[in-house]
Subunit: 423 residues, 2 copies
């Protein structure tokens, strides 16, 4: 089933805000066999919005618009929708009630502008927005559907999952059955992995397709099967998945679609291990990734962001001599940081990072992208018996990408260490 | 002058890669009076690319395409361009020479795939790509121009600035002038702000336009002016900006387009103040936002992620009694955390957070979204003289959004505290 997305808003065209909604919609709908075939970005301008909707309907049965529904006056999408689908703007008391309920929960006042959001085209079916004030509107014409959604990514994502996606799947039932298997692979570059599994991949039948979703330090492989017969495709995907696991052995970190942080937290929870971080160049991002996962507090004790060397010494107990002799970006320093994180927090498993995220600070010997990472698991309470792993990486890309790569690599290193040691 | 961008690539439609080229082009061209009026994203498909080019030409005199020029077999843009602009693919020896030169510098081998890049439509003028292997192609038809650029953001940005932009500005001399002013506003919801400035906004002349870009805890307002007379519009935007500043007073946090983390780091740098964090519910995200800004190490000492109460006690020195009497999510606890962060790191200014990010952990008294935040500025080395600010917030949304809102609010609180106190 083909889907077209229209992203509405002057702020997108001038490059002040980057659209992430269209990609999110594509990723969420793909597992159900829906393909985003065309994305248009237009400003808050009636003629442009109208033309974009007509173009989208020429290419897809379903159009999702995001944005252009806020309470301020630059939002004119609703009157355009009246022009296309007929009807006129009418007051919907359920929207007012929904906004009042939100206002009570969030402690804000309903004013003339928020009440304007309760005006909706009489030609649409309203879907109440549980997480925002702009209602979602469902229109139909000539067996085609347009869903107008708000532009705030959190609202779009929540309401797509909770209301719009189930309604679309019901309105356009799938005529094929789709099955997936996902594998998280470490220790390979994309091209090395492609070479390793080339013979197996070339022999895949036409109803099975393999997609590579590489990130630095971790490649996600998704095997998609599509066939009219549910039993047949379920068996074929399972068989191919077993073959791939046998082929890649220990490089398979997990056979699911969880983030590395979630895998690590689950492994810690299963083994009764508590977790801590000691971060220099990742600057809190490892702790952030861990604490984005709900329930992290069961396992994650906390961490130290030791950006300045004084904090490495004072809070993590890194030796002044270790720093002076090796420099902050060194294996001896990250080893002491990992040990210090365990002492400071009382946790059993830690990750530490120290590196040069750039753009400044690089040298010939330690260029931008050089990151030392250590993972340490204490095997007794005193920390005299422990296992550890450490490595110096050289990541590429800009500052954000280097931080991201180092974060992922540290989490994977800690997970590997815990998987390989019966605690 | 109107400009339309077409972003080409299956990887964009499936949501694997997010387009940042169109926004970059808009930001770079805007100061010269060029407006991106329409952006389309299409897959590596001849019919879709062809249709997108025709649609773009209906609305703009200049079309820039990015992507679809790589050496792999799914890139078919060049033959589509031959179809539209005439001619056939011919070998350009200058492109081969350019690739050979790049290969020497970067130490890679020219293979069959890279040599295919030297084939270009005979109908185009080739612009040599100094930073990549795909040549840039300039086409003209009916007084309209299409420039086909590579998809790699670094290549597009470099070659736009160094070659394509100067050529476009020469080919289409400017007929209007555009000026912007940006304001970061705190302490208002979007609708309350709209109400506050409604009379002023309604009275804006047609050549001035105001746009709202809200995030929880911070609204960005952008005032755009467009006019043929540069002196006139510069003065009018400046005048309107002064009126808006007078109207909103202290709610204006800054008159620029920087992220709050960058504003705080700059303010600290200007005042010679060092910075630290003590995070519970934000879990390292404040430190992460700060350290994403390059050069943060000048100012940011580090922080403690005190997720577990034991870490709040052991590392930040929060009293067991304070925790027992008030609970972890309380003003007394965040006040002690903020003080503890300064003691542990030796910094002068700190932010602390403790709250319930959900989805679990809420109660009637402290529902999910409740976050206590404190900012503290030590006025002497001993910390006996200090100023502080604290507040209990109630944020809405999912876990990620609550963490994001708390992060922004903490950074804004610290910035406010520093702005309001001559240190």
């Amino acid at each position: 089933m083909k889907l077209s997305v229209i992203v509405i808003g002057d702020e997108l065209l001038i490059g002040q805000v980057t659209d992430t909604n269209s990609g999110m919609i594509a990723r969420k709908m793909a597992p159900y066999g829906w393909e985003v075939c065309y994305v248009q970005t237009v400003g808050d301008n009636a003629a442009d919005i109208s033309r974009a909707i007509e173009s989208a309907f020429e290419q897809a049965s379903v159009v999702i618009t995001t944005g252009g529904l806020g309470p301020t006056k630059d939002d004119i999408t609703k009157s355009v929708l009246c022009g296309i689908f007929g009807g006129r703007l009418v007051h919907d008391p359920m929207v007012t009630e929904n906004i009042n309920e939100l206002a009570r929960r969030r402690n804000f006042k309903m004013n003339v502008l928020t009440s304007a959001q309760a005006m909706v085209p009489s030609s649409c079916r309203v879907i109440q927005n549980k997480v925002g004030t702009a209602p979602i509107m469902w229109f139909e014409r000539d067996n085609r559907v347009l869903v107008a959604m708000p532009g705030v990514p959190f609202e779009t994502e929540t309401m797509l999952a909770e209301a719009v996606m189930p309604m679309l799947l019901k309105r356009f039932p799938a005529d094929v059955c789709i099955r997936h298997a996902v594998f998280l692979i470490t220790g390979y570059t994309e091209s090395a992995l492609a070479e390793k599994i080339a013979a197996w991949e070339d022999a895949l039948p036409p109803y099975l397709h393999l997609a590579y979703l590489p990130k630095p330090g971790l490649i996600r492989l998704r095997l998609d099967g599509i066939h009219a017969d549910a039993g047949f495709i379920t068996a074929k995907v399972a068989l191919a998945a077993d073959e791939l696991k046998a082929l890649l052995g220990k490089a398979v970190l997990a056979c699911n679609d969880l983030a590395p942080a979630e895998l690590l937290l689950n492994e810690c929870r299963n083994k009764g291990v508590s977790l801590a971080t000691a971060e220099s160049c990742t600057g809190g991002n490892i702790a952030h990734e861990l604490t984005l996962v709900s329930g992290a507090s069961d396992v994650f004790m906390g961490g130290i962001v030791a950006y300045d060397n004084k904090v490495k010494e004072a809070v993590l107990g890194v030796g002044a001599k270790t720093l002076a002799e090796n420099g902050a970006v060194s294996i001896p320093v990250v080893r002491e940081m990992a040990a210090g994180a365990l002492s400071a927090t009382g946790a059993s498993l830690s990750m530490s990072t120290s590196g040069i995220a750039g753009p400044g600070g690089g040298s010939d010997e330690k260029p931008v992208g050089t990151v030392c990472i250590c993972a340490r698991l204490n095997l007794d309470n005193s920390g005299t018996r422990f296992v550890e792993q450490f490595e110096t990486f050289r990541f590429s890309g800009n500052r954000e990408r280097i931080i991201d790569s180092a974060t992922r690599s540290a989490i994977v290193m800690a997970l590997r260490l815990l998987q390989e040691n019966n605690y």
